[in-house]
Symmetry: C2
Subunit: 283 residues, 2 copies
């Protein structure tokens, strides 16, 4: 489907793109580039592809699809760096978890109609290329986020790439993507982290009594703080909107508890359980 | 250790007490009583003990330890019902997840110094005696919560019972117990439930994009709303205090996000991750 796939800054997601693309026969050649020389050295031992390049420019030369897998604050600089050496007709996408600003700036940097954003809803709190898996995208949702001016063919080819890796693609505008993930991903993250930072102010021995409830509810509080700082910075407006909506819900619960309205307390739990029900059976 | 153990209203916890007590050789005889006749019929097929009684009074006759496993709002009424037929020297405990009010009322109802509260930090969102396991308490924490006037020997014998089932016992005052669980159990529960009830007000198709983060963070939102209504009713004061502390932390995060203070946003995540770290390796 693609003659040469280039993956820049592979971590868990980029490494899994390389493995999945080879496994699914989606690219004839795969080239990768990592920022740190010692990582490039390690990558040369991996069964990912044909070439480990020493520069981003070298990696993307001759590639017809480039997947930028760096942290969100390095995506646009990398696209700016590779733009002058991109082949005619080459497409560029990324795997960043915030889209509006990245899509606007990366589209301008890449020139023409060759950039379209992606965001795979896959991964875990385990990061790093060492944990890459060929089946990471199987059955997982991937957002593809074209701008209004992005050519339909460009978005379609990137969507087909993810579909070939086993993912289910949803094509939405970047702003709508950011609103959705603010609610279903960034809000749960900030609740888990603030719950832990709040409990850190109490007697730490209480933690020894934690059951499975606290453990599950706070698992993602173990994620990388620097990564999340950048995500919150990029999606500030939508996260604030989602947070205000949540604070409103919390005040409703608080008011019901304070006035002893047990019907309302139970009703909030009923609504919550009904919402949660379909998530029991998904992977 | 005990000649006859009586278990009233066994669910997941009570059934596991029966299985564990037999498995660990802690009781020579086990008698159980369940409220619904069809459940008593089913229990007669279980390898739990010697007798399935038709009334609470019949179950506790001759018992030297009674474990009341009913929902929190039925514990005190059950203790009142069995008090007249309790053997001399019999001890009574429960497994309710709120303690101050129950311990005060049940101690008065049982008479003398024969009641002491317990709360095993074990269980799951799976409820019902069908899921009972002999190893449910192995390595888990169990609170034993004597009042100031409870005899030390009484609390000690109940603590020894849980220890014999493989649990690690912490002896604390009922009020302190309620403060601890308000923070580490009831607060996570209300966050999970209100997160889901908040998201239920948004586009429900967004849920299809949920990753492991939302799934883990909201798992306990699948718990029984009626059960939790009763727990919140019994622990209202401490839950409100814990909730106010959390709302304060959430406002700190919101303010940092609103003013673009990324150092503080990252610091909150760092504190949260440090708090969470020891929970990664516990069962």
């Amino acid at each position: 489907m693609f003659a040469r796939l280039a993956i820049l800054a592979p971590g868990l997601l980029g490494g899994s793109v390389a493995l999945a693309a080879r496994h699914c026969g989606v690219a004839r050649e795969v080239a990768v580039w990592a920022r740190r020389p010692e990582v490039r050295q390690d990558l040369r031992q991996q069964p990912w592809g044909q070439a480990v390049a020493d520069t981003p420019g070298e990696a993307v030369r001759g590639a017809d699809l480039v997947v930028v897998c760096s942290p969100v604050d390095s995506i646009v600089p990398l696209v700016q760096e590779i733009a002058p050496v991109l082949a005619t007709g080459a497409l560029v996408t990324d795997v960043g978890s915030v889209k509006a600003e990245i899509c606007r700036l990366a589209t301008a940097a890449a020139g023409g109609s060759r950039f379209v954003g992606s965001h795979p809803m896959a991964g875990s709190e385990k990061t790093g290329w060492e944990h890459a898996r060929a089946d990471l995208f199987a059955g997982r949702r991937v957002f593809v986020t074209p701008l209004a001016e992005t050519g339909a063919g460009v978005a379609g080819r990137v969507a087909a790439f993810w579909t070939a890796l086993g993912a289910e693609v949803a094509t939405v505008a970047p702003e709508q993507h950011d609103e959705i993930v603010a609610h279903i991903s960034h809000l749960p993250q900030l609740l888990a982290s603030t719950l832990c930072s709040c409990l850190a102010r109490q007697d730490l021995r209480w933690r020894d009594f934690a059951g499975g409830g606290l453990r599950d509810t706070t698992r993602i509080a173990g994620s990388d703080p620097k990564l999340w700082k950048t995500i919150f910075a990029q999606n500030r407006t939508e996260v604030l909107r989602a947070l205000h909506g949540y604070q409103e819900e919390l005040r409703r619960f608080e008011a019901a508890l304070a006035r002893g309205d047990w019907t309302e307390v139970q009703a909030i739990h009923e609504r919550g359980r009904a919402y949660r029900e379909p998530l029991r059976t998904t992977p």
